[in-house]
């Protein structure tokens, strides 16, 4: 038996992180400096209605899921060179909680 445990991602903490780190540019329902996140899971990159994306993101074939969101948050420029988000989240646990919050929110009716 391995002597470690995998801590489940925490959507409540993810919400707090979302508000403190992402909230300057993003909201769930409205496009601001960044695109709205409602419906982001399963959506192709560059498809939030009414948001003016960089050509790089618009041309990307990325579809947002837990794995691609993790890669994006860790290093946006590495995933989609030429994009315009200069912000990244270095801590894997923080990324997991943020993604869990987005996943949970998007699962709501």
């Amino acid at each position: 038996m391995q002597a470690f445990s995998v801590q489940a991602a925490d959507a409540v903490r993810g919400k707090q992180l979302y508000e403190s780190r992402c909230g300057a540019c993003h909201s769930i329902d409205e496009n601001r400096a960044g695109p709205a996140h409602k419906g982001v899971f399963g959506r192709k990159a560059g498809m939030a209605k009414g948001f003016e994306y960089s050509p790089a993101v618009k041309a990307s074939k990325v579809v947002w899921n837990a794995k691609t969101l993790d890669r994006w948050l860790a290093d946006p420029e590495k995933l989609i060179p030429g994009q315009k988000m200069g912000f990244s989240v270095s801590d894997a646990a923080d990324r997991a909680d943020l993604i869990e919050f987005l996943r949970t929110y998007n699962a709501r009716p």
């Binding site: 300057a24 400096a33 315009k84 200069g86 990244s88």
Partner: protein
């Protein structure tokens, strides 16, 4: 036409000797900040490609939003003196930031992001939910805190360290605003050190 020709104006207006000492500046930043457009332009291609312009443009978008949020607060009729005077002062700071960022983006060969219509900001910020002075202050404090964390968060992404330094100074302005607003709301200081950017 911007009021401020370059970023050094911020230092001058704040009554401080500029932090932007000539000995430590990169060639591009020195040219930019001293208004030597030709030399700055020679570095513009590389700077633009580096992504610094994109980061500055996102910052400019936040400044546009902040300016319009204060306009919405002032027009709401919910702010009374002396709070209204403080809001006007903070908005003036954001206009300085806006002008400095836009001038810098142009000098680096980029196109500054345009301000949206006030109605668009009213919708995205849910201005129709503001019912009293505390609501306006809560909104302003939230935006100032968000801008602080955004500026701190993009610091590692700047290729030009001098632009990162300017962004850090902008973040300090946002912290000053947030602290005053937080105090006006009667809220305590954050527990512990280093509460911003985390």
């Amino acid at each position: 036409m911007t009021k401020s020709g370059d970023l050094t104006r911020i230092s001058t207006i704040n009554g401080r000797r500029s932090f932007l000492g000539t000995a430590t500046l990169s060639a591009a930043a020195l040219a930019l900040l001293s208004g030597r457009d030709v030399l700055a332009a020679s570095h513009a291609g590389a700077m633009k490609e580096s992504g610094d312009v994109a980061i500055l443009n996102v910052a400019l978008g936040l400044e546009h939003e902040g300016i319009n949020a204060y306009t919405l607060g002032a027009q709401s009729g919910l702010l009374q003196k002396p709070v209204l005077d403080v809001a006007v002062r903070f908005q003036a700071d954001h206009k300085e930031h806006r002008d400095a960022l836009a001038a810098t983006i142009r000098k680096l060969g980029g196109k500054p992001v345009e301000e949206k219509a006030l109605a668009e900001y009213a919708k995205s910020l849910k201005a129709d939910t503001l019912k009293n002075q505390a609501d306006v202050l809560e909104l302003a404090a939230r935006l100032e805190l968000g801008a602080t964390n955004a500026y701190l968060g993009v610091l590692p992404s700047f290729k030009d360290a001098q632009l990162a330094k300017v962004a850090a100074r902008l973040a300090a302005d946002e912290v000053m605003h947030w602290t005053v607003l937080n105090n006006a709301l009667g809220k305590p200081l954050p527990a512990g050190g280093m509460p911003f950017g985390a």
